[in-house]
Symmetry: C2
Subunit: 458 residues, 2 copies
Amino acid sequence: MTLEKFFNPESVAVIGATEDPKNITSTIITNLIEMGFAGKLVPVNPHHDEVFGLKCYPSLPDIKEQVDLTVISIHSDYVPEVLEQQAVCGIRNSIIISGGFAELGGKGVELEERIKNICRDKDIRLIGPNCIGVLDNYSNFSTSFLPWTKVKRPEKGTLGILSQSGSYVVAMMDMLSLEGIGVSKVVSYGNRADVGESELIEYLTNDELTHVIGIYMESVDDGRRFINASSNFSKSKHIVALKAGRHDSGIEAAKSHTGAIAGRYEIYKAAFRKSGIVEVNGLEEFMDACKVLLMQKPAKGNKVLVLTNGGGFGVSVSDMCSDTGLDVAHTPAGIREALSEKFPEYFILKNPIDMTGSSGDEDYGIAMKSALVDNDFFDAAIIIPLMPPPTMTDGVAGIISQRAKESGKPVVICMVSGIYTEKIKAKFEEKGLPVFPSPERCVKAMSVLVERGRMNGC
Amino acid sequence: MTLEKFFNPESVAVIGATEDPKNITSTIITNLIEMGFAGKLVPVNPHHDEVFGLKCYPSLPDIKEQVDLTVISIHSDYVPEVLEQQAVCGIRNSIIISGGFAELGGKGVELEERIKNICRDKDIRLIGPNCIGVLDNYSNFSTSFLPWTKVKRPEKGTLGILSQSGSYVVAMMDMLSLEGIGVSKVVSYGNRADVGESELIEYLTNDELTHVIGIYMESVDDGRRFINASSNFSKSKHIVALKAGRHDSGIEAAKSHTGAIAGRYEIYKAAFRKSGIVEVNGLEEFMDACKVLLMQKPAKGNKVLVLTNGGGFGVSVSDMCSDTGLDVAHTPAGIREALSEKFPEYFILKNPIDMTGSSGDEDYGIAMKSALVDNDFFDAAIIIPLMPPPTMTDGVAGIISQRAKESGKPVVICMVSGIYTEKIKAKFEEKGLPVFPSPERCVKAMSVLVERGRMNGC
């Protein structure tokens, strides 16, 4: 059985649907209407005849048409009954938004076992409980109960997000919208009573619209299946993982959160390495790693050219490269000779190449031509064009991206945030070069490309 | 002799002044006019009678009034002559913007020795060469040659910035403006032929307008003097340091950049610890550490309350706290009892206190009252109010800041960036609570407060 109906259902029943803004079903339905979901939307609630202009049915058996999926956000105590009923109606998929299950311990664990058993016995596939559910950005289907006015829906794109945590999914969507990074599918599966990350990774392996998966995990559903699925996905695409619940206090917190047994962190690290997964440690790193893998290809080696007009940035980027295993190798004599003919003597050619505050747009093109296009010594480049000098204009984005393209090598840009600089950032990203707002984030992003290149080489 | 005239000169001669936009003196002068600098501005250039409406003098001896300071941005070869001349005129201070000295090696080193000797012999104090010079945000004096249209001038405030790197100073000003963090004085001293960080720290110790110093350093001018000055400053205020040139490639880059001999990093680390200096590793950390020390006081211990409505954030913040030596200690029974009377059973009270997506503004007030105001167990709090749930409104900023104030303990806020959330961020900061855009940056900022608290305790 495929997971297709979770993402692109032809008909969806929303259990307990109401227009009451305090009830989250109201936001789920208005979100779907606003998104232009083309499938059939069927509210189910014995107390209403109509919800947001849609005919409302008293119960599932009253619906005559085939329903692909139920969305359940009623009190946990009533969930088993709905599942039993949908089994009778032949509805084979369910997303349970409601909390009140294993994450509470005690009786909640029992209740979760009960719904698991029903689903297993009656052949129902389940996402959740205690989750936000899905967003399919192409079928315009979502079960998010957070209004798109407060969390901006990301653009259509090729990033898939999988998460045990609902709040991470929401935060990611909001950040990605602000960054202009497009998303294909998002799944928050919460307590993961049935469908988990391994099966979702298998499913997304064949999804042409998903090129990179970012995954937030507190625990793994099935270690062996996860490694197999990830290894297979990573052959042609990329996975970035944020493992939460690494230390004692985080492990405890994870247990209260989604009932997850976080397990030994070292085992996760080894599994990630084995599966070609890039591990990250924070939310910004998570987003940056996904972004750089979406926009640039892995590096063939770790020799990195650092090119800037700001000496201090050259120095600190060199430090950070050393911290992350990137080699700011000396510029070979051939490149230095070529450049010394074109540049004034006070430009520093050693690598970092520091063209000083006197340089302008064209100098970036000259340096990249000799050091990156005409010569194969460097595997990649970190470029830090500081915009304040009057000699620097927004034309630099075109020049740098042109040379990056000619070189065929991965290039990342560091632009330190300022009101003026923000505009230039957009110009780079329009041309496909990822921009990061600090030297540390830019270096970390490059190290992701080098790490992925190394894995591919193995 | 004091450094006062570098920051608040009554009369300044700009050597080589011209209206030619390609010459940086033109920006220095237009910047000063735009800032409303109240001192006398005297252009010096034999080729002009007037520059930007100001009377221009052929040479320094032609000026009849007392001049406090020269600003020199001519070719390095001509600098010694100007210094000799200003000595004759009794002008005792000079800021040399020009590069072309020790950073080039060889003859540049000799030239720098020559200007050092002149200054020593003729009793001239010198900032630079190869620098941006100063910004005094209260006297409205600056020697920056970058137009304020491209680098936004920060608001008036209490952060001082000292730097060997000009580009870091510029980047910091731009970022600080965007963040709304106010600045008192900025000094970029480049090759540091005379005035260096130790003397500047001594000077700023008595500057009531400077509460925190952020310092970018590749090398130190005088180790013993630096430790003494920093220790003294840190008794009542705070210093944050970014040491660049930590590893081989960075050390080499530093030498080419400002002629600095970066020295062994371990020695710097020890000196920082000894002097009460908070060390940071990147530009965002640099800004965040300055910000948190400007807005909050050090923590008395490392027991940190983590309060959120997003379980995943609770988990990953707990991990990050462990990474940085913060103790997410179990909530004591007394607090748990008090809260369990007020909260539904599915709120998790263990610490992190996870009030789930169902909680609203008022719940933050209730939790903080019991856990932070009425009880002295926790030393500080990291609060992560995720705004997407409909129960959350901008009123939460007032509630949280009120309780933070009552508790007398340091509190930091994590708000993950999104278009809607940005507006709420401003509300928190108006009320004096620093907001950081990711869990990792928020935890790091709290660890700075704990580190400073520990140092003070020693």
